[in-house]
């Protein structure tokens, strides 16, 4: 297959290096000697999939720490797909050019709802039945994990098994079971797997609906199948596997650098944030462990840059000491440190200055909402003064471009909040003009808010595309010098919203949309609204039921049985506080907020360095 690829196919496609494998630090395990064989499938192109930390972790974990085998595959770009279909080349893995059909398991990483059509497309390209019920004992088990799997129901038709929560422990237990049950028939195997905590097997449940379309009940079909599925949590990151020798891609990928995961989870409690709930509680890595990981990773990759990743890196208690250590140890060798997101305060700017001794690029801040009132509603605890102070500090020390992130369509939003965004952007620019000799550019990136499952806003109505469009036009009504507003596609956010809070019945819609040619829906040049609308119509399913309906407080949600550890009572109280504009403090600083995670999952906050700096600001 490799010869044919190299000779007849790759010379004619764009970016052929995506499809050749053979990268430095690739792991090729012996097929015969390995127990369970799994293909890790990322439903987007190589340069995006290879940037994902979770994939790097699982790849090293399975291949280095177990007797199982894990190989990679990514979604081929449409030009490559077309060639593969013409030449009858099935989807293959980059390690051994083995067709996916030959594996025991194909596991998809679901990072974003709209990648689901690529999942279907990849299964089809692999010659594996797209619908779980049509698979035989000879077909691989199709599984999925990642943040999107916390509401697995819209995708239930396509997967045999979902893995919920941190994959480090769960995946190995799952693969052990795959290997042990290989002689059983498919249904029996799945029943065995459903007994492992964190594993959800959708075909073992039955859902009944009320006449109004809401859920009446969901019941396990067999004994031993749990009613609720609780997410798995790694209690201490210091003992969790992290790769010291990640693959170095040949092509330039989106995050092309060494990476340290300084912590998992975020306790800030922004009420719109899905990741903030599903990755709770905060677990930090110790400074000493991180230093060692940095040393080994840089030695084994030769990367010229190292990045500190997490949901909120500036909150890591040892961040200042870690940054100084990295700059001191590796700066002279031309290795840079990068901080992915900045908090809105002067401490962040100081630290950023430390990191960027030479290069001052764009400063990125995320106030999320334009008015203090709305920022209180979403629990984004940051004031206008703090934003301006941070920007002053930045311009004084030589930065000359600022990028601000906002959302529109948040609950309780009015015209005044939109004005607030424009005002804040103007003030930021004026501040910049005061301190900078050159003309200052401020860019604001404005996304549409999508209510997500498991958040305090899981009950609310999402803005219609029309409303979002009106808001966009309102904000764009006059041009402002030195200010650039960019808006996310409002239609994609609707489909995203329907899937994010959808139920099992959406499987038919997804299948239909895919059959009508939907793929790469997260790429605006490929997203086809009309095909999605048609798919909903053809299945006689009302999209508004999922996006435009205010849910009642006691409605049974499709995702309720997935236990994130955060109680529904807490989410409800957070929603009520949102409507009152009441803040909930960060539990690392103030008292326990009673979200339920620590007592429920038998874990605790894991703060390692007790640094002073990280807590200086409540933001």
């Amino acid at each position: 297959m490799k010869d044919k690829l190299f000779r007849d196919i790759l010379p004619w496609v764009s970016k052929p290096i995506r499809y050749t494998g053979g990268e430095v630090n690739i792991i090729r395990k012996d097929w015969q000697e390995s127990k369970a064989k799994m293909a890790f499938a990322f439903p987007d192109v190589y340069e995006i999939g290879m940037s994902h930390i979770g994939g790097k972790i699982l790849y090293g974990l399975v291949n280095e720490k177990s007797q199982h085998l894990l190989e990679r595959t990514y979604a081929p770009w449409p030009d490559m797909e077309e060639r593969m279909r013409e030449e009858k080349i099935p989807l293959y893995t980059l390690e051994s050019f083995t067709p996916l059909k030959d594996f025991d398991v194909v596991g998809f990483s679901l990072q974003y709802e709209l990648t689901i059509t690529n999942v279907l497309n990849m299964l089809d390209l692999a010659g594996i039945p797209v619908l779980a019920e049509q698979r035989s004992d000879q077909d691989p088990l199709i599984t999925a994990g990642g943040p999107v799997a916390f509401n697995p129901e819209p995708f239930a038709d396509f997967f045999d098994v979902f893995l919920i929560g941190d994959g480090e422990e769960l995946l190995l237990e799952f693969l052990d079971m795959v290997d042990q049950t290989r002689n059983l028939e498919r249904r029996q195997r799945l029943q065995k797997m459903a007994e492992i905590p964190g594993i959800y097997v959708p075909s073992l449940y039955e859902v009944e609906y009320h006449e109004d379309g809401t859920i009446k009940s969901r019941v396990p079909l067999y004994g031993g199948v749990p009613e609720r599925v609780r997410k798995r949590v790694i209690p201490d990151l210091d003992y969790a596997y992290f790769p010291d020798k990640p693959i170095i891609p040949y092509m330039n990928i989106v995050h092309d650098r060494a990476v340290l995961e300084v912590m998992r989870g975020c306790q800030r409690g922004c009420r719109f944030c899905h990741a903030g709930v599903v990755y709770r509680p905060v677990r930090e890595r110790s400074l000493e462990v991180l230093k060692k990981q940095a040393e080994l990773q840089l030695k084994n990759t030769g990367y010229e840059e190292i990045s500190l990743a997490s949901l909120s890196t500036l909150d890591y208690t040892g961040v200042d000491r870690l940054v100084r250590h990295l700059v001191c140890s590796y700066g002279e060798r031309g290795i840079g440190v990068s901080l992915p997101s900045l908090r809105v305060d002067a401490f962040s700017i100081d630290l950023a200055n430390e990191v960027q001794k030479v290069r001052k690029t764009t400063l990125t801040l995320a106030p999320e909402a334009g008015s203090q009132r709305l920022r209180d509603v979403i629990n984004k605890n940051v004031s206008e003064e703090q934003v301006i102070e941070a920007v002053e500090a930045a311009f004084q020390s030589g930065w000359n471009a600022v990028k601000l992130y906002f959302m529109i369509g948040l609950p309780t939003e009015t015209e005044a909040d939109l004005e607030g965004i424009l005002d804040l952007v103007n003030k930021v620019r004026e501040t910049g003009q005061k301190y900078s000799r050159r003309s200052v550019e401020v860019r604001a990136s404005i996304a549409a808010f999508v209510p997500k499952a498991h958040t305090p806003f899981q009950w609310v109505v999402q803005n219609t595309a029309g409303e979002l469009e009106d808001k966009r036009r309102y904000m764009m009504r006059q041009k402002r010098k030195g200010i650039k507003l960019s808006f996310h596609e409002s239609y994609t956010s609707l489909v995203e919203g329907a899937l994010a809070r959808g139920d099992r019945r959406l499987g038919r819609v997804i299948f239909h949309a895919w059959q009508n040619g939907c793929k790469f829906d997260s790429w605006s040049e490929y997203f086809q609204l009309d095909q999605w609308v048609q798919a909903f119509q053809a299945c006689q399913i009302d999209m508004d039921f999922y996006t435009q309906r205010m849910r009642s407080m006691d409605e049974i949600f499709p995702w309720d049985f997935i236990d994130t550890g955060v109680s529904r009572k807490f989410l409800q109280s957070e929603y009520n506080k949102a409507l009152q504009g009441e803040l909930t403090p960060d539990c690392r600083i103030a008292d326990c907020t009673g979200c339920g995670i620590c007592s429920g999952l038998g874990v605790e906050l894991s703060l390692k360095e007790a640094g002073d700096y990280a807590f200086k600001s409540p933001v």
């Binding site: 000779r7 010379p11 052929p16 290096i17 170095i248 092509m251 030769g302 990367y303 060798r333």
Partner: protein, 225 residues
């Protein structure tokens, strides 16, 4: 000190772009702990110059780069680099050259390209080559920067050999490279494809890069000034 390095880049790496290759070499230099020199200033970079650049799709048997570094035995450089490079890239030779030696780009003016063709007879190829030699002009659409122009390859083709390969014949072109006339492999491919079905051209690569002085060919390792 300045080192000139000769390497091969095998078929597995034929789809690397210039930038991909540069990153790959830079990262290998770091893994091998080579004492390279960094430029001063705004955005420090390694003094690495890839003098010969293989276009995407082509592999090469003898390619070159120059590197500035602190004192180090060239043999140690070769050994340490080959330990960390992917198997498809091998460093073959390296030697010290004067700091003021002209760049590879300025020196190299000739290259050989090889095209492997199956299911043809030697007679067919002989006829083909004879026709090319006898033509006063060989026009093909230019593949370089001036895309809309027609380029005459004839005066840039110095010699064509026909060799027996393993299971194919090899057409080997010695052509002009760099300034003032750069003959590209894809232009040669167009020329051959006009008479031979593209499906029969099963492989192609660059065999070498040379410095042509009068009628003699020198390797960039022999002729550094």
């Amino acid at each position: 000190m300045r080192l000139r390095v000769q390497y091969s880049l095998g078929p597995d790496l034929r789809f690397l772009s210039h930038l991909d290759l540069m990153h790959m070499v830079e990262r290998a230099l770091r893994r091998a702990d080579i004492p390279f020199l960094l430029s001063q200033g705004y955005n420090p970079h390694i003094h690495l110059s890839l003098g010969t650049v293989l276009p995407v799709g082509l592999w090469g048997q003898q390619e070159y780069f120059d590197l500035e570094l602190e004192e180090m035995y060239p043999q140690l450089f070769k050994q340490r680099m080959n330990e960390v490079l992917p198997p498809a890239m091998r460093i073959q030779h390296c030697r010290l050259i004067p700091l003021e030696a002209p760049s590879l780009m300025k020196l190299i003016n000739t290259a050989t390209y090889v095209f492997c063709i199956t299911d043809v007879s030697k007679e067919q190829l002989n006829t083909l080559v004879r026709n090319w030699y006898e033509s006063s002009a060989l026009p093909v659409p230019s593949r370089g920067k001036k895309k809309d122009r027609v380029k005459d390859l004839r005066k840039g083709i110095y010699r064509i050999n026909i060799n027996h390969g393993e299971d194919a014949f090899q057409l080997e072109f010695l052509v002009s490279a760099g300034e003032p006339l750069n003959i590209r492999y894809d232009e040669l491919l167009d020329l051959i494809s006009a008479s031979v079905s593209p499906r029969l051209i099963v492989d192609y690569f660059r065999k070498g890069n040379y410095i042509k002085k009068k009628d003699r060919l020198y390797s960039p390792l022999e002729k550094v000034m």
